[in-house]
């Protein structure tokens, strides 16, 4: 078996990044983002990146890092409300932005990874999202055509991996990562823990290793929390 394990994020990115490339980056908000690979991508100095990600990080963390360095020239996302620098660059027309409804974005990536070039959905009919898209009626209802998405490199974050690249995610940190893993020409996964072959239950693997070409183990995850909401334990 070819070795999928790389010593660190920088070596895992070597040879697959280039100016003008399209990346996918997993995560919902800052939950389940490939924080080590994003930091390493910054250090490569790769420019003119089209980034496909549900969100754009926050100022100084997640994809916000690559927006701060102006390495991203276009974003495809569903919600960018947490990033002030993003809003500033967009309103100043320094950044191209394509909003996709979140379910449409997820399905475009799923379709891209599955070799499906397009599909029809009701989502967005009668809105700005539908402009310029093919409309078609099925059973008396109108749908619009959306196209599949693929990327030159998909960056994903999982909880555990085995050396074959089988991945397991944890709780809501799964989100967009499994679909993105299928839609990268090269998929690089970063994980918190590498386990021995055979120690993951094959019935419980979320992403089969066929989708993962490169693998790194990250150290000291920051896992920043955006909204720390708690309840108070009543004293007994």
């Amino acid at each position: 078996m070819p070795n999928k394990l790389y010593p660190d994020a920088a070596t895992a990115l070597a040879g697959v990044v280039f100016d003008g490339m399209t990346i996918m980056s997993g995560g919902f908000g800052l939950c389940g983002i490939p924080e080590k690979l994003i930091a390493a991508l910054k250090d490569t100095g790769t420019k003119d990146i089209t980034a496909i990600s549900n969100n754009a990080g926050v100022d100084g963390f997640g994809l916000g890092i690559l927006l701060g360095t102006r390495q991203i020239s276009k974003m495809i996302a569903s919600y960018v409300g947490e990033n002030k620098e993003f809003e500033r660059q967009y309103l100043a027309r320094e950044l191209e932005l394509e909003f996709n409804p979140q379910g449409t974005l997820a399905e475009r990536i799923r379709a891209g990874g599955a070799g499906i070039p397009g599909f029809y959905t009701k989502t967005g009919v009668g809105t700005l999202v539908a402009e310029g898209k093919e409309h078609k009626d099925f059973g008396g209802e109108t749908y619009i055509m959306e196209t599949g998405l693929v990327a030159d490199v998909a960056l994903v974050k999982a909880w555990k991996a085995d050396p074959y690249g089988n991945l397991v995610y944890r709780k809501t940190a799964r989100n967009f990562n499994p679909m993105m893993a299928t839609a990268g020409k090269v998929t690089i996964a970063e994980v918190e823990e590498l386990v021995e072959a055979g120690s993951l239950d094959p019935d419980h693997i979320h992403t089969p290793g066929i989708y993962v070409q490169r693998l790194i183990v990250g150290q000291d995850y920051e896992k920043r929390i955006e909204q720390r909401t708690v309840r108070v334990r009543e004293s007994v």
Partner: protein, 211 residues
């Protein structure tokens, strides 16, 4: 004496039926979870990939890998399940969710909803809202009846870019409940908040409804 936010949320909670799978939007709709009546069993869906969303964690239970669609830390329940975003929106778009309660900037008398952008001013994005209104069986909007500048938010026509066309089934504002029996029909007054008169409601409403 109009309804306050909590009373609006409590009114919305009366629309929940036993066994419903429900998606609550960010902001006032999240308050609905605090008003679920005893004996009514509801499973909350969080579109970032969870069914069976639990309450906020105690300080020592906080888990960065466990958040809701508003990016707030939450907890899991015995019934909870996790899934990826495509599966999450298959639930939404496939018509498997019974009810979604959302906020709005504008609702039109034909059921059009606008709640995702103000051109030139605010570019946050639609997130999952367009999918929810296109796929969920019933859509309830919780909103202030009038904007801060006093403008009616239930209008003859939306002026802002739409989230969905003809998608709203019920509006619960601080002044009244307006609903329509089916999509394609007009809105009717269901209930006035205590102390609100029909004349006052008409004066503060632009869109048409049957009293």
């Amino acid at each position: 004496m109009a309804w306050n936010r909590d009373e609006q949320a409590a009114r919305a909670a009366r629309e929940l039926q036993d066994g419903f799978y429900v998606n609550l939007g960010i902001g006032m709709p999240t308050l609905v979870a605090n008003h679920i009546a005893p004996g009514i069993d509801i499973t909350l869906q969080s579109e970032n990939g969870m069914l069976g969303m639990g309450p906020f964690p105690y300080e020592d239970e906080i888990d960065a890998d466990l958040i809701n669609a508003g990016k707030q830390t939450i907890t899991e329940l015995r019934r909870s399940s996790y899934f990826n975003s495509a599966d999450s929106f298959a639930m939404v778009r496939g018509g498997h969710i019974d009810l979604s309660i959302l906020g709005a900037m504008e609702v039109a008398e034909n059921g059009d909803l606008a709640n995702w952008m103000i051109p030139g001013k605010m570019v946050k994005g639609m997130g999952g809202a367009m999918d929810l209104v296109a796929g969920v069986k019933r859509i309830i909007v919780l909103m202030e009846h009038n904007s801060k500048s006093g403008e009616a938010k239930f209008k003859t026509e939306c002026t802002l870019p739409l989230t969905g066309k003809g998608v709203v089934d019920m509006v619960i504002s601080d002044l009244a409940v307006l609903a329509r029996p089916a999509k394609g029909e007009g809105f009717r007054l269901v209930e006035l908040a205590p102390g609100v008169t029909l004349d006052e409601l008409r004066a503060k409403t632009e869109g048409g409804f049957a009293a």
